[in-house]
């Protein structure tokens, strides 16, 4: 499967007298049908990275290609769509006019049937004559998705698409992202909504101070080396006796006679399970400990996880 987007050590330096590096040697590879999430605090360089890839901002050093065409040539933007954060849509156009205008600009036939199909896909067909200025944020975003689909985008850049949306709007957008993936459309999404990104992304990139500090598949990022074991004993006294014998293993007592252990490695796990069985206890749960993306984000930013992959995504 060929890469759709490849960025190699792209950097952005701004300022005349006092130079400041706002994106520092970022490398990204994105394949067709993949959703990649960019996560990072404000000012991390996520939006600037997107803008560089879209040719909206110049790349100071490094290179990028989209579908094999070098950025920022017009050829690199064929089949590419962008939904910026806090965009104010043209107030003089209705939803239908807006979608049709972009289809025509893309040089695509603006057949009524296609426009209807895409607007129905995002549940905006009934609002096609409504001026954009009278639409809610969620409706305008859906109109934008219809615009991108009508222009046959294969790679979509979304900048903070979930901000300002109500929970229903967030769920709808999440479902839309999943449906884009099913259509083999790749998405690069910037967001602070780590919980939502965890639901839709294949890969996650964490950025801070212009650098990628962590990047991998979601599964690998969230899985830890720890295993949680919960054992049940016949009574509280038996549980307490066993816990006392296993004082070297981190644990905590649970009601009525359960103990939860956290095991660091698999060797310790086997020994613990044997000991539990020998003491007459029952295993009620053995599962690897996983983090939520929010927890990982906070840990990485607070420096609790220095073993980052760095540089590449």
């Amino acid at each position: 499967m060929g890469e759709l987007l490849v960025a190699e050590k792209i950097s952005k330096v701004v300022g005349w007298l006092k130079k400041e590096t706002i994106v520092d040697q970022v490398s990204i590879t994105l394949y067709p049908g993949q959703i990649m999430g960019f996560l990072g605090p404000n000012g991390a360089g996520k939006t600037t990275t997107m803008k560089m890839l879209l040719g909206l901002t110049s790349i100071t050093s490094g290179s990028a290609r989209i579908s094999g065409a070098p950025v920022p040539t017009p050829a690199s933007r064929i089949g590419v769509g962008f939904l910026p954060e806090a965009i104010q849509h043209p107030s003089h156009l209705s939803v239908g006019e807006y979608v049709r205008f972009h289809a025509r600009l893309s040089g695509l036939p603006d057949h009524d049937s296609e426009i209807e199909e895409q607007l129905r896909n995002v549940e905006m067909w009934d609002y096609r004559d409504r001026p954009l200025r009278e639409c809610s944020k969620g409706m305008r975003q859906r109109a934008d998705i219809a615009r991108l689909l009508l222009c046959r985008a294969r790679l979509i850049f979304l900048d903070e698409p979930f901000s300002g949306l109500d929970p229903c709007g967030q769920v709808m957008l999440k479902e839309l992202l999943v449906s884009l993936k099913e259509q083999n459309i790749s998405v690069l999404v910037n967001s602070h909504a780590a919980g939502i990104l965890a639901d839709v992304c294949d890969r996650v990139c964490m950025m801070n101070h212009g650098r990628i500090i962590l990047s991998d598949t979601l599964e690998k990022l969230l899985t830890t080396s720890k295993t949680r074991v919960i054992a049940q004993f016949s009574n509280t006294a038996a549980a307490s006796d066993f816990a006392a014998k296993q004082s070297a293993v981190p644990h905590r007592m649970q009601e009525p006679a359960d103990i939860e252990f956290l095991i660091e490695d698999s060797c310790g796990l086997n020994e613990l399970i044997k000991a539990i069985m020998a003491a007459g206890g029952q295993l009620t749960a053995v599962a690897p400990v996983t983090l939520t993306l929010d927890q990982l984000f906070v840990k990485v930013l607070s420096g609790q996880r220095p073993e980052v992959t760095g540089g590449n995504a």
Partner: protein
Amino acid sequence: MLSRIRLIMWDTFLDVARHKMLAVHLVFICISIGLFNLFGHFSTTPSLEYRMIQDVGLSIISLFGFFIALFIGSTTLRDDIQHKTIYAVLTLPMGRWELYTGKFLGTLLAAIVNVLIMLCVLTILLYMKFQILWGGFQWVALFMLLEFAIMTGMVLLFSLSDSLIVCFSLSIFCVLLGSMAEHVQHLAAAADIPLLSYLTDVVYWIVPNFSYFNIKYKILKDLTVSPSFALWAIGYAGCYLLFLLAAGSWVLKKKDL
């Protein structure tokens, strides 16, 4: 390419027309009707009243035309950049110069239609009151349209600066200087310091010479405009507009959005 430019031009024109032009025209019509009533009381003869209304009417159109050029030129592209509307267009496989050319032509069209409507309103009101057809209307229209086309193109170029104050200041400065272009030329010739003379000369050649388009005195004195002068003015305006278009396209291409 041409179809994209045409689409953007038409969209820009619609944007201006749907929201801004109507209000400007209503204000202008109200002022014009007020003028007619006012000068009816002050003038001693109908011919004097006709000239006064024509003179003041043209001055008001000039003033309004400048404000319209300033308003349309400074908001069209600038708002699109600030509201990020431009991102949706610039991420399509098209050159930035295509967008700029479309915007440029759209704002020019809007400014021209605006001025044309105001001139038509003035002409119709004059005809209704005096039953005289304005003989030099076509020349007034032509020269005013050329003047406002340059003004609008210039403001659009300056609107690419990061500050609205810079855009307004440069626009007003250039319009004032361009209206006094002949004096600037004399100043360049009279300057004792070579560097000052050279700089003044540069300013004279860079800033548009609006005196080429000022034919109001000829119209008011019923003088005719020679076709060769008109051709020269059209050629000058065409070249200047091309220069503004090229400069704006280059600036937008280099601009980090």
